[in-house]
């Protein structure tokens, strides 16, 4: 007993010595690296800069200090604050480049690897709108461009001494300033967290190729809270505040916003200066201000002032890019890249991106459903991706093992949606042993027949009703006819249990909707389809995020809030052109008036879109 005890104790001493030596060497090795400063704690804002903007709210028409372009001005000029009373807008939070500009308390905590104690992420809980952020510090990459965007975006961080630098992408569209200055979903945010004692300086540098000509830098101070947490809760529940038609998206037509001059007049600021722009943020601009205040010439007039406050339009803003040169620039992203990428949307549904139009694949015990088949050139890669999914390669929990492709559904009849029909159908098999069945609206089959598409590439399981549904892989699948949207042959597919909608070309995040009037398309139909998506989609939280995911005809995965933004755009542009038609303007005059100026940086060439709407409104 003694011997044993002593042996243990002897071993313990030996172990102690070894531990001490290890400790010493660890200290020796660790000594050069300074541990980063802790940001953990509850922080509350100080509002000693831009108090008007950050607490009570900015004045309409106040664009000062912002390096905005003409597109942003146009957006803000038409912004009607009552738009937030629309049901789908009511509970939308601010995005990460904006939320720190409001009244805010937030908590930072750390997440460590339980085995190594390595700091792998910082978590933030923001009291305003109950938002959570995760700042990954473990070197992981950002998601692909077709991944969903969120209000807070996807963030990674790195330490530079005691400064934490955070890069955030995948941010939804919202605002830089509540007065309607927009931020696009192409915004990238770089933050620097700089702590001095109990004061945290938060630096934000936002880059937005759609609405800013230079990065926008802003800073806020937060003070460590001594006592407890006073973070707010925000369980938003929307309610009908104003009874209005479904298509009513509040906005101001050109020259009708009564508030744009109020801010400048109240403070004696030259109107030109109140409209912002990068040049107004540099010291040299003080000389320009003095000249303007003295009644002198301010310099070359900026066209948007004249445009949106009174009437005639000038040349396009160079910062937005020549319209022709931007034509198709967004659409190019949707062209086949040579690689087909698989992305799990949710439930049993996956996105295959890079094959032309987006492809959705539902996989389960019953087999495989493929919605759209992409370009014919990409078929081999599409099939390879489907086989990987059907073998369980996309998800470790997938139960399907080499399941057959049973169904193909075409949302459109265009070749980028149907190019792989024949090959993918042949690669599959119905329960009767035939090639996989291709389903589409009967108009699609008719259009393809007219176009001389081979029999084996055309849909033969057609429907003519408003809606069709069938069960597959344990979930109801609904097919809705998009009457007169992109064409008269479109379908929208809703996987009800997976909670995923495949929208077809009525919803395309890479460009304006393509309205194929010759084949029965219309802007009214596009709006109707977008509104139907909004009826079906339900966000997972009170705060308009996640829940139902929507796969557009082209572009990234979206949720309801993204569709709302797109619906608003289509409706607003449609209203503007309708107003111009009412005033007797010709198509050339409408094109010159740039009714899509505020969206061109995001969606590219608008000529065909404008022409289609013009033709429709003329009828």
């Amino acid at each position: 007993m003694h011997s044993s005890e002593c042996g243990w104790q002897t071993g313990r001493h030996a172990a102690l010595r070894v531990c001490l030596l290890h400790f010493a060497f660890c200290i020796a090795l660790a000594a050069p690296a300074a541990a980063q400063i802790s940001l953990v704690g509850d922080w509350v804002g100080r509002y000693h800069e831009d108090n008007q903007d950050r607490i009570p709210g900015p004045d309409l028409g106040d664009y000062t200090g912002l390096p905005v372009n003409d597109a942003a001005r146009r957006y803000a000029d038409s912004w009607d604050p009552s738009r937030v009373s629309l049901l789908e807008h009511q509970c939308e939070p601010y995005v990460s480049p904006h939320i720190y500009r409001g009244p805010l308390q937030f908590r930072i905590s750390e997440e460590h690897n339980p085995d190594t104690q390595e700091l792998i992420a910082l978590k933030q809980y923001l009291g305003t709108y109950q938002q959570w952020r995760t700042i990954w510090l473990d070197g992981r990459p950002h998601p692909p461009e077709y991944a969903p965007h969120t209000w807070m975006g996807f963030s990674t961080g790195e330490w530079h001494g005691d400064i934490l630098t955070v890069t955030t992408t995948h941010i939804k569209a919202e605002f830089f300033r509540r007065s309607g200055i927009p931020s696009s979903d192409e915004t990238t945010l770089v933050e620097h967290y700089v702590r001095h004692g109990n004061v945290l300086s938060h630096v934000m540098i936002a880059t937005d190729p759609v609405y800013l000509t230079e990065p926008l830098i802003m800073t806020e101070e937060f003070v460590l809270m001594d006592r407890g947490n006073q973070n707010w809760l925000y369980n938003c529940e929307y309610a009908t505040e104003i009874d209005r038609p479904k298509n009513d998206v509040p906005h101001f037509l050109d020259g009708t916003n009564p508030s744009l001059k109020e801010y400048a007049e109240r403070y004696g600021i030259p109107l030109e200066a109140a409209r912002g722009g990068a040049e107004t943020t540099y010291p040299e601009y003080m000389d320009t201000l003095r000249r303007m205040l003295a009644g002198g010439t301010p310099g070359p007039p900026r066209t948007p002032v004249a445009q949106t406050l009174s009437g005639p339009r000038g040349e396009p803003d160079p910062s937005t890019g020549p319209r022709s040169s931007r034509a198709g620039s967004r659409g190019d992203k949707a062209r086949p890249t040579g690689e087909v990428h698989t992305f799990h949307v949710q439930g049993n549904v996956y996105l295959l991106a890079g094959a032309g139009a987006n492809i959705a694949v539902q996989v389960g015990d019953d087999g495989v459903v493929v919605v759209d088949t992409g370009n014919s050139q990409a078929t081999d890669k599409v099939l390879a991706a489907i086989r990987q999914l059907s073998a369980g390669g996309g998800d470790a929990t997938a139960r399907a093992v080499n399941k057959e492709i049973r169904w193909i559904i075409n949302t459109e009849f265009d070749r980028d949606h149907t190019g792989g029909n024949e090959a993918i159908s042949k690669a599959g098999r119905t329960v009767n042993g035939n090639p996989a069945a291709v389903v589409a609206h009967e108009n699609a089959a008719a259009r393809m027949a007219q176009a001389g598409v081979a029999d084996n590439a055309r849909p033969f399981n057609t429907y003519f009703e408003e809606q069709r549904d069938f069960p597959f892989n344990g979930e109801p699948i609904f097919i809705y006819h998009d009457a007169a949207a992109h064409t008269d042959a479109g379908s929208m597919v809703f996987f009800r249990r997976s909670d995923v909608i495949v929208a077809g070309d009525a919803f395309d995040t890479t460009r304006y909707p393509v309205i194929d009037a010759k084949n029965g398309g219309s802007v009214a139909g596009v709006i109707r389809t977008l509104n139907r998506i909004l009826e079906l989609a339900v966000p997972s939280k009170y705060l308009q995020e996640g829940g139902t995911y929507i796969i557009p005809g082209h572009g990234r995965i979206c949720d309801e809030a993204d569709v709302v933004e797109y619906r608003d755009m289509v409706q607003i542009v449609s209203d503007r052109i309708a107003d111009m038609v009412k005033k007797g303007m010709t198509l050339a005059q409408v094109q010159a008036a740039q009714p899509t100026l505020d969206y061109d940086g995001r969606y590219g060439d608008a000529a065909a879109f404008i022409e289609a709407i013009y033709g429709e409104k003329k009828r």
Binding site: Q36, W159, G161, I163, P283, L289, R290
Partner: protein, 303 residues
């Protein structure tokens, strides 16, 4: 619970003595830790390190021409705000009274044109800073707005002069993490380093060693200054205020921009209800071609 037992009291006495007979093990550990912790960052091999100066010890390079980019408080900085407009500033009743009594003509007549260009307000003036080393232990900040000069003294032996000035007497010290041994010099202006470890700057985690800004800040405490204005329109700070600033050179932006952040804390019980925090950002310029000194002058309020 087992009581603690002295090593000599039990059957393990022999082993305890053996332990006692080996003090060098623990001594070695202690010595190793102490040696490692005290070895200076440079000069471990070869010739003795040159005398340490604050300039050579600078963890960040603040020198160069910096332009203020006025994206915040635009109305209050680019123009002279209306009389009595102290929005955002936590002034108390006395501060409000003094603000409302502001008289630009009276200031000008009294030769107090530089009152808005003193240490409490100079960083908020749109303009450019030219930062240089006056000597190895003194950093000089020149502002073209109001043609002001500040000297930031690292030498603790120096004391504030009896006469108060607009810019006062500033004592500076480097603060922040100790720099790693073997680390290169502080990044120079426009050094081709960007944050991010690749993937177009979109990856997280530690960036390549060469791209790491080692961080560190300059803390500046200023005394012996005259009464001045926080804002052009006479929002006051008193000569008894405490003014502390932190200068941080931010890691380079993906587009190559280099930013200087100056966080200013003005604690003035005479006119403020709480410390007044502002953070002003300046962008590094390649040269002084836009340097444009001007005399202290405040425009009349626009309205």
């Amino acid at each position: 619970m087992m009581p603690w037992r002295p090593a000599s009291a039990g059957p393990c006495h022999r082993h305890s003595r053996a332990m006692k007979a080996r003090p060098p093990v623990l001594a070695f550990v202690v010595v190793l830790v102490v040696v490692v912790a005290t070895v200076p960052g440079q000069g471990r091999q070869g010739s003795p390190a040159p005398p340490r100066t604050e300039r050579s010890a600078a963890p960040i390079d603040l020198t160069g021409y910096w332009v203020s980019v006025v994206t915040e408080d635009w109305r209050w900085r680019m123009l002279t705000p209306p009389k009595g407009d102290a929005q955002s500033v936590p002034i108390n009743a006395e501060g409000k009274r003094v603000t409302e009594a502001w008289d630009l003509a009276k200031d000008n007549a009294a030769g107090l044109q530089c009152k808005a260009f003193g240490v409490g307000g100079i960083m908020r003036q749109p303009g450019r800073l030219h930062i240089t080393w006056a000597d190895d232990n003194t950093l000089k900040i020149e502002a073209d707005a109001g043609t002001q000069t500040r000297l930031l003294n690292f030498d603790r032996a120096k004391h504030a002069p009896a006469e108060k000035t607009w810019q006062g007497f500033s004592v500076a010290q480097w603060v922040g993490p100790p720099r790693a041994r073997g680390a290169g010099p502080a990044p120079t202006p426009f050094s081709p380093t960007v944050p991010g470890g690749g993937g177009s700057g979109l990856r997280g985690g530690p960036p390549p060693a060469a791209a790491i800004s080692q961080g560190g800040s300059l803390e500046v405490t200023t005394t012996a200054f005259r009464d001045g204005y926080l804002r052009k329109n006479g929002v006051p700070y008193s000569q008894d205020a405490t003014i502390v600033e932190y200068f941080d050179r931010l890691p380079p932006s993906p587009n190559g921009d280099v930013w200087l952040l100056v966080m200013t804390m003005v604690d003035d019980p005479k006119y403020l209800t709480q410390p007044f925090y502002t953070s002003t950002h300046f962008k590094l310029e390649r040269d002084g071609s836009k340097w444009k000194p001007s005399a202290c002058s405040t425009d009349a309020p626009a309205k």
